[in-house]
């Protein structure tokens, strides 16, 4: 398939991009890496009248260390996130997750922020952004605004971003030293969209779980944290019964869809299996009192 016609604007700055989006009156679309958008444009599932290309805007292609967090610019490619040594050290769970994001060639172009904006329910980076208490930095005609990831990701392929707004970067929190983590994904083919994935982090205080975070994807309209399961694990010994209880809560707390690749029941079961592995791995990695 070939794209339907559109006008093209190569934005020179964030302000220029927002201006061009505003001028498109709701019918503009931002392109960064284009690895999700271009297939939809080629299929004509998306037919913007104006395509605003942000690839030539200077300064958006960096991962900045901002103390307790990293700021990932809108043009940071997957290749950079996957290979950045500071990310590997401070957020090893993201380093691990990146191994599952697409293939070599797609990683050369695709961007972290673009993946989150695309909001595919079976993509890793929306889930990782939720896990890492991400903050979305947005440029709009009226100025800058920020949104927590949980308020940004609304549903399948749907975010709180307005048509005249541009995501300029996403801030994600570093993990406290000694934080345990786990990431498990099941996909039919490596690098393909996953049937389900689960990720977690946990700190260990006097043998008890603290600051438990758990997120899932592929089992609902959007990736999500599971606050009720996190709360149940908080302060627990993370032993067999505690994890079994968490898995049971997770299975009742999600509403997967059925599709060609698997029934809802299958996905619910799968998410539980992955969660059990993830929680055990996270607890095994957690170092006692390391963050205090």
């Amino acid at each position: 398939m070939k794209p339907a016609p559109f006008d093209y604007v190569s934005a020179e700055s964030v302000a220029h991009a927002v201006e061009a989006l505003a001028a498109a009156a709701g019918d503009g679309k931002v392109i960064a890496g284009g690895q999700s958008l271009m297939p939809m444009i080629n299929f004509r599932m998306v037919r913007p009248s104006v395509l605003v290309d942000i690839n030539r805007i200077a300064g958006l292609d960096r991962i900045e260390d901002r103390g307790d967090r990293f700021h990932i610019g809108a043009l940071v490619r997957h290749r950079l996130t996957a290979s950045d040594p500071a990310i590997a050290r401070h957020i090893p769970v993201l380093h691990e997750a990146m191994k599952n994001v697409a293939h070599l060639t797609v990683r050369n172009r695709g961007t972290f922020c673009g993946s989150v904006c695309h909001a595919d329910p079976a993509a890793e980076l929306p889930m990782m952004t939720l896990l890492l208490n991400g903050t979305i930095h947005i440029a709009s005609p009226s100025g800058e605004r920020t949104l927590p990831a949980r308020e940004f990701l609304l549903s399948s392929l749907t975010t709180a971003l307005q048509p005249d707004e541009l995501v300029t970067g996403i801030a994600i929190e570093k993990l406290a030293p000694g934080t345990g983590w786990g990431f498990e994904e099941f996909a039919r083919r490596h690098g393909d969209y996953a049937l389900a994935a689960v990720t977690a982090t946990v700190e260990r205080r006097q043998g008890r779980a603290s600051n438990v975070r758990l997120a899932v994807m592929g089992v609902g309209d959007t990736a999500t944290r599971l606050p009720a399961v996190e709360a149940a694990l908080e302060g627990s010994a993370m032993d067999g019964p505690a994890i079994a209880d968490a898995v049971a809560r997770l299975r009742t707390g999600i509403e997967p869809n059925s599709d060609l690749n698997g029934s809802a029941d299958y996905r619910r079961h799968l998410a539980g299996v992955l969660a059990e592995r993830v929680l055990k791995a996270a607890w095994d990695r957690a170092e006692e009192g390391a963050s205090t």
Binding site: M1, L51, D53, H103, N108
Partner: protein, 160 residues
């Protein structure tokens, strides 16, 4: 009518200038505007890898790139990797190891392997297969392609 755009780019060391619709894919630009039909178009939505080229030295899907986005960039295609009379190193390794049968996917594999040999650790079959996993071949079962890359990786040695 949507405004046409000027595209200036360098393909395999040769400068080209065309004026095209912004919606023209880089894959179509190479094939239809420049007559460089070595770049094959398989799925046209970024899944098969047949259209892989290098953009400023890194592999990219030319079907997921607009020609206008390549304006000012260096593009390398399979035509730059050797000729019928004088096969390039990767092409020779493919011939020696039977890394192709019908050949449709081969240009994409070749260009992906250029990127792999320049930038990626290829110390074992797992790393080789992982790096090749974005390209689909329906003939070879991949084993012969892996064999070819293993030999190329051995010649190259470890990355600095």
């Amino acid at each position: 009518m949507n405004a046409k755009v000027d595209v200036n780019l360098v393909v395999n060391g040769v400068s080209h200038k065309r004026t095209v619709e912004p919606r023209m894919l880089l894959s179509d630009f190479l094939r239809h505007e420049l007559g460089l039909t070595g770049t094959h178009v398989g799925c046209e939505h970024g899944v098969c890898g047949a259209c892989t080229v290098l953009l400023d030295g890194r592999s990219a899907r030319s079907c997921l790139t607009l020609a206008v986005q390549a304006d000012g960039l260096e593009v390398e295609t399979v035509e730059g990797q050797g000729s019928r009379e004088q096969l390039g190193r990767i092409q020779t390794a493919f011939r020696d190891h039977h890394g192709l049968q019908c050949g449709f996917c081969t240009p994409g594999f070749i260009m992906t392997i250029v990127d792999m040999l320049q930038h990626h650790p290829l110390e074992n079959d797992e790393q080789i297969r992982e790096a090749l996993s974005g390209n689909i071949c329906r003939c070879t079962g991949y084993q012969h392609i892996v064999n070819a890359v293993r030999e190329l990786a051995k010649e190259r040695g470890p990355l600095p």
